[in-house]
Symmetry: C2
Subunit: 460 residues, 2 copies
């Protein structure tokens, strides 16, 4: 335990994603007391969420405890909480946790609360098409994906079997492409010999996007390569398709050829992001502008207008059309920390943040990825080996790297998925599938008779 030194510069960091965590680490040797506030006790390696949702990695492997990562950094205090308000005049942050709320004062504030899933004004889609932003999301989707095959195996109605074996992924950015690819691999490589009635290779994986390209941020060449690989894998890619409705048993789409309904029990939303409500509050309090996704328009040095002591970094900031990727968050987080350190040393501040694009990559299947580094483009096996190398290097900073390598070996060299648990609750208590009364089961819009003893109790 340590107690803050009297009169030390107080830095509050909101959010322990890439931006907040790396800002905090960069303040390691600075004469400051850091309070890091996050809504969960774990950092989240978001780019690998899809591997938790599809059974390759355990949640612990991509969500190390923040306290463990920072245990040797004495000048930081980690606090659980969701920040509900910032008073930019009194310079305080208010956060809530279950049963308690608290207020922390700051001299400098780094806001790195990330982005949440955006349904573009259709939040009612969320129940039937969970997003891919948190561990909660990944575990929910893991339960739905593996549960879908179990329930398809039980069905006798061919239409229902097709519904269970149709997976729709909305959004053809890296997360959507990776999810679609992994579901296809699961159905074609891991599961075929494990079912007796259904042929899992009959699965339909449909990847939808409103834009007219997959992975558009990777440029035409890699986008075309990725599309070709997705087609080879049997994934149906439907571009220029706008989702207008999602319910328990299907999804409604406006396509270039008119309206279409796709029957599917499992829908995954990887389409849009929006800044959390905190961004709007901060903008209002400081007079900053926000962009269409709700991100705060920051000064070139990542500060807010008239508030050189407040930084917004990562997915929350709008600056030079920078993409919402981990490297932007890491680098802008470090930039904010550097500015604070300069100020404390009496140096001139206000240096603009300049982003060094280290490249981007997305896996499509095992042994196949696209990667763009500077002006060089890689695809196929070379892209995938690059992906592997970069992730292995990054993981060296964390524990669990050995189990991660083992789990990758199981999944990429073998056919297995080691982390496939769907809990009883997830499968049996899903709202859209719940029994609505004695003798009646509600299944999406269908109502079917239930057996005589509808009381479901958990077996061992």
């Amino acid at each position: 335990m340590n107690t803050p030194a009297e009169g030390r510069h107080r830095v509050v960091v909101v959010g322990a994603g890439f931006g907040g965590l790396f800002a905090t680490k960069a303040l390691r040797n600075a004469p400051v007391d850091v309070t890091l506030i996050n809504g969960t006790a774990h950092h989240l390696f978001q780019p690998l969420l899809y591997q938790v949702a599809t059974g390759i990695l355990s949640e612990g492997e991509i969500a190390p405890p923040i306290r463990e990562i920072l245990r040797r950094q004495d000048n930081v205090e980690v606090r659980l909480g969701t920040v509900t308000d910032v008073d930019v005049t009194a310079r305080t942050v208010t956060a809530t946790a279950p049963g308690i709320s608290y207020t922390v004062g700051y001299d400098s504030l780094i806001v790195a609360a990330g982005a949440s899933q955006s349904y573009f004004g259709n939040d009612q889609f969320a129940e039937n098409a969970p997003g891919m932003k948190s561990i909660d999301d990944a575990l929910e989707l893991r339960g739905r994906i593996f549960g879908a095959f179990e329930l398809a195996e039980l069905e006798t109605d061919p239409e229902m079997i097709d519904r269970w074996l149709t997976f729709v992924v909305v959004g053809a950015g890296p997360t959507g492409v990776e999810m679609a690819g992994q579901i296809a691999e699961l159905a074609h490589r891991t599961l075929p010999k494990q079912y007796r009635r259904i042929d899992t290779r009959r699965v339909r994986v449909i990847l939808l996007d409103a834009l007219d390209a997959v992975l558009p941020s990777f440029g035409d060449h890699l986008s075309t390569r990725a599309l070709r690989r997705l087609h080879q894998m049997g994934i149906e890619v439907e571009l220029g398709n706008r989702v207008v409705g999602v319910d328990a048993t299907g999804i409604e789409v406006d396509t270039p050829r008119g309206h279409q309904r796709i029957e599917s029990m499992t829908k995954i939303w990887a389409a849009g992001v929006a800044a959390p409500p905190l961004a709007a509050r901060l903008a209002e309090a400081t007079g900053a502008q926000t962009d269409r996704a709700g991100r705060i328009q920051v000064n070139p040095d990542c500060t807010l207008p008239g508030h050189p002591e407040i930084f917004a970094v990562g997915d929350m900031m709008s600056l030079n059309r920078l993409p919402g990727v981990a490297q932007v968050a890491i680098q802008s987080g470090r930039h904010a920390a550097d500015q604070i350190k300069r100020r404390l040393r009496g140096k001139e501040t206000g240096q603009p943040f300049s982003y060094h694009d280290k490249g981007s990559m997305a896996t499509i299947s095992r042994f196949s990825a696209v990667a763009s580094i500077g002006k060089v483009r890689f695809s196929g096996l070379i892209g995938w080996l690059l992906w592997l190398a970069v992730h292995l290097l990054y993981l060296v900073g964390f524990k669990n790297r050995l189990t991660t390598v083992l789990h990758w070996a199981v999944s990429f060299i073998g056919r297995g998925r080691s982390e496939r648990v769907a809990t009883f609750q997830q499968v049996f208590a899903r709202r859209a599938l719940l029994q609505v009364g004695p003798g009646v089961v509600r299944l999406g819009e269908r109502t079917v008779p239930a057996p005589d003893t509808p009381e479901i109790t958990e077996p061992r």
Copy 2:
């Protein structure tokens, strides 16, 4: 995919715990078609549940998919479902899964539905003192245990800090002893350097039991050894204590010295087991007796009275006062399978089940366990090495053994816990801690004012 051969003997196995799984495996080369029905898609290695609840292992490591274990056994079909009824005249089993119910006919039936937690008529205790019987339970407890330290760190009220740092385990059998030991190790070895305000070594771990010994089934010698080791670890063992009430903030106990209330936010129930409702239905249908725990009194060959085609095995059967341990389930499951194979070969059946006690063991902390094998008793390091050897040998039959060994190395040689994730839902949506209205937070019985903006939205 295979289709059942016309006219083959049909075996239905209810439950894929130790009893059902090993019965199914023993039927591997028999001329039968097996339908294995289970409420989840995974087998559960129940004796290691406590390691999931305390962050050592991931759920995937102790809950391999049933289909994967049995993927090479062509004569078995695995079906998800909770069995709601057995018609012993028509020889059919009815099961439900979300949105569907189905009926399967049998020629032989092996019922191995295990046991669920028993609150001895006080099921209302469950909400505030979850049991330890399923993956759902272990994940719930993992969220509560790690969440308790997070919320203690935020508290300023000394009484509340004490409540968060007091853990009560009810039941001093192997599961309770192992849970208590692991929580103590967590607090003393893993967490101390990770918190700034609380000293996790101040934790109180209280182990309660209504009986007057810990691990009574291990005999006086080992029971005394175990008690001594628990005391060395600072665990408060309170024997002859009967729990009469559990609420959000504490537990009420009748002790030999009168009534007592223990203030504690985290209660764990490892006290009693009861057969599931299916046992009572089967008993009623066949005229079998049930014992106090609701288990079915079986014939010496594990069949039900008047029904040589129905076997009850494992935790569901009451026979010769056999204990509810994995080996009884495994051996009785195999016995039932053998009886079926004998009948099909035209051999005499009705052989009584004889249990070969391979011994029992319970870990108390790393490097310390008690083990009883035949008449030989081991404790301390030797007991622990035996525990390790037996579990490593057993795990050889499963995937994930390498990651399990790595996770054990992290926890037993190092101080780490690799699998510590508490989801946002688990920590923020716990009913006893929920906000009950704008401006008001309900915390157990206390009502405290909430901050201005009580809406809790999930951050990234």
